[in-house]
Amino acid sequence: MEQQKFNFREIQERPDRLAPGHRMCAGCGGTIAVRNVLKALHPGDKAVIGNATGCLEVSTYMYPYTAYEDSYIHSAFENAGATLSGVETAFHVLKKKGKISSDYKFITFGGDGGTYDIGLQSLSGAMERGHDMVYVCYDNGAYMNTGVQRSSATPMYADTTTTPSGRASDGKPQMRKDLAVIMAAHNIPYVAQTTFIGNMKDLYVKSERAIYTPGPAFLNICAPCPRGWKYDTADIMEICRLAVETCYWPLFEVVEGKWILNYKPKKKLPLEDFLVKQGRFKHLFQKGNEHLLEAFQKETDKRWEELLQKCEA
């Protein structure tokens, strides 16, 4: 794989492949994810972009306008993996038959609803069959497009519209599904987890690696949603930093089965620091709910320790 040197300025000066004028919310993490993943396509390289139904789809390709510079396909909610695997296969046949000469990259985006839940089978199938494509999950931890319902990516105790906190409820009772581990268990060449940190180098490097690694790759990007998480729009970078510094959202890669930890905080911050910024966890800070914070911290610690073992870090 020809990985290019990270040159922040050069990369930021590359023309956006997701054009402005789309209808995503101001400060949406999904849009930041898409713009930056597509920046990792080397200038001049062609791509076909896939998309599961969700906020991103209904806001970036609203007839008769598309925000995408590249060819783009959306068909339904649960089939982004399968749809793009058809496109990728068509590419191989048309190339073999001499009907096209250019090379293409295949990148598909889905939220956590379309990826962790309704689209998991289609994603698993596409990865297992070995299509040369990248599946990018912009994980905002709930079904945001339909109005903040819980998903299997929703963190424990989060207040959502289908797991509301109340006198008889602590919010979502279950822990979050660890999709990156499930994808790594497919033994595909590349799996990575990232978010928006600093100058976006981690996101860029992983996107480039995912796109230019032959075979299937999966990227899981923590992409906060100001409406669902209930924080000030301007705080997104701080929220992401705290997700990483509290080890709620560790940065790691699985390259050809080898687990690599990309960042280990010098001093792990308490989970509270990440939670307190978000309205969806407000109830955890009420008197008498200390045990919930404790339980959530314990679960986060356990997962972090497991990751350290996998990475031998």
Binding site: Y63, E69, I73, S75, N79, G86, K97, S102
Partner: protein
């Protein structure tokens, strides 16, 4: 030189696929269509075709991948039956509204409830409003010929709609019968190369497929799609005419069997028409003016043409191999009765439910139906409900 041989309906479809040499075929096995992807996989393994097979993990993904491949610019096909088609449901509509010229081999089998693997039309009839062209076959020869014509219809600039080529599970798909196969050269020339105008992998332009369309635009898109279905009627006839020039085989919207002067007519779809023809022959020998209208094209629905062909009849039995659970009969019954009304046909009409879940229909069963028609015409029999043919009484 045409080749006279014998094969099953599934083999016939596979032979058509071999001659067409499509680009991509995603499929998931389901009885009784499983053999089709198996045959294709063998042909690929033996280096006989250039097709890429995608062994998807479900029918939903089969239709999704077929859609992706077609949008990308490839000639894409798939095959399924019954619950497989039901699982594709959502994407059937998306594929049709995206105006993708996909061709599907559908081997008709009943939808589950109870689970049964035999011939019934509830799968394709359930999908009758999904925007797909539907062409049905009586036997292996017809399913082969229909499949060879499908791409020409689907890809025509006036149409751009997906096509379902239907045959009856087991009765047609697995029964081995005589067949005439056409030579490769003229067939390849007839089918032609696929040259789409716009597609995802077109190198000098990008395109977007599958938008969110607000109410200001969506209704126009649906009207445009409906008009394409209307235009498909002429294209189906034109393609059939060209196919006749190559093979000598004659096809239209439907076949009229001894219908011209018939007093009593049966209207049916699929393999039962062979049985009905035997009954017609037998009754004709006895001096009864019996006839058959065999529906080949169900979508677009040639209602006006069928009603005109039936106008002179005294009594008509419309046969359905699919329950609508409307309490009012089956889909062919409902749509054809409506067409008869518009043509002011005054014949007695009965909608007959037959062959559900593979229930056998014999020549004497069809004779019984013609007997009902004679009685209806003479005012000696009326049906308060739509009758079930061959139902066990106890």
């Amino acid at each position: 030189m045409a080749i006279k041989t014998r094969m099953s309906g599934n083999e016939a479809v596979a032979h058509a696929i071999k001659q067409i040499n499509p680009d991509v075929m995603p499929a998931f096995p389901i009885t009784p269509s499983t053999e089709i992807p198996q045959f294709v996989a063998s042909m690929i393994a033996n280096g006989e075709i250039d097709t890429e097979f995608i062994p998807v993990e479900s029918e939903h993904s089969a239709m999704s991948a077929t859609m992706g491949a077609s949008a990308a610019g490839a000639r894409a096909i798939t095959a399924t039956s019954s619950c497989g088609l039901a699982l594709m449901w959502e994407v059937l509509y998306v594929a049709a509204s995206s105006r993708l010229p996909i061709v599907m081999a559908l081997v008709n089998r009943g939808l589950t409830g109870p689970l049964n693997i035999n011939a019934e039309h509830s799968d394709s009839m359930g999908a009758r409003d999904s925007g797909w062209i539907q062409i049905y076959a009586e036997n292996n020869q017809e399913v082969y010929d229909n499949f060879l014509q499908a791409h020409r219809i689907a890809e025509h600039k006036d149409v751009h709609l997906p096509v379902m080529i239907c045959q009856d599970g087991f009765i047609t798909s697995h029964a081995v019968e005589n067949i005439t196969l056409w030579e490769d050269e003229p067939i390849k020339k007839f089918v032609g190369e696929y040259e789409p105008e716009h597609y995802l992998l077109k190198e000098d332009e990008s395109m977007a497929v599958g938008p969110y369309a607000v109410s200001n635009y969506c209704m126009e898109a649906k009207k445009a799609q409906a008009e394409a279905m209307v235009r498909a009627k002429q294209v189906i006839l034109d393609v059939a005419k060209e196919f006749e020039e190559v093979t000598g085989q004659k096809y239209g919207f439907f076949e009229e069997y001894k219908l011209e002067d018939a007093e009593y007519a049966v209207v049916a779809i699929g393999s039962v028409c062979g049985t009905a023809k035997d009954a017609v022959d037998k009754l004709r020998a006895e001096g009864v003016k019996a006839g058959l209208l065999k529906v080949r094209v169900f979508r677009p629905f040639p209602g006006e043409e069928m009603a005109k062909a039936l106008k002179h009849c005294k009594a008509i039995a419309i046969m359905d191999r699919s329950e609508s659970y409307s309490g009012n009969g089956g889909p062919l019954g409902a749509e054809l009765t409506s067409a008869l009304y518009h043509e002011k046909v005054t014949a007695e009409v009965v909608n007959v439910m037959y062959g559900l879940s593979g229930r056998d229909v014999r020549v004497n069963d069809m004779e019984e139906v013609f007997g009902w028609l004679a009685e209806m015409a003479e005012g000696k029999r009326t049906f308060s409900q739509y009758p079930y043919l061959g139902l066990r009484e106890a």
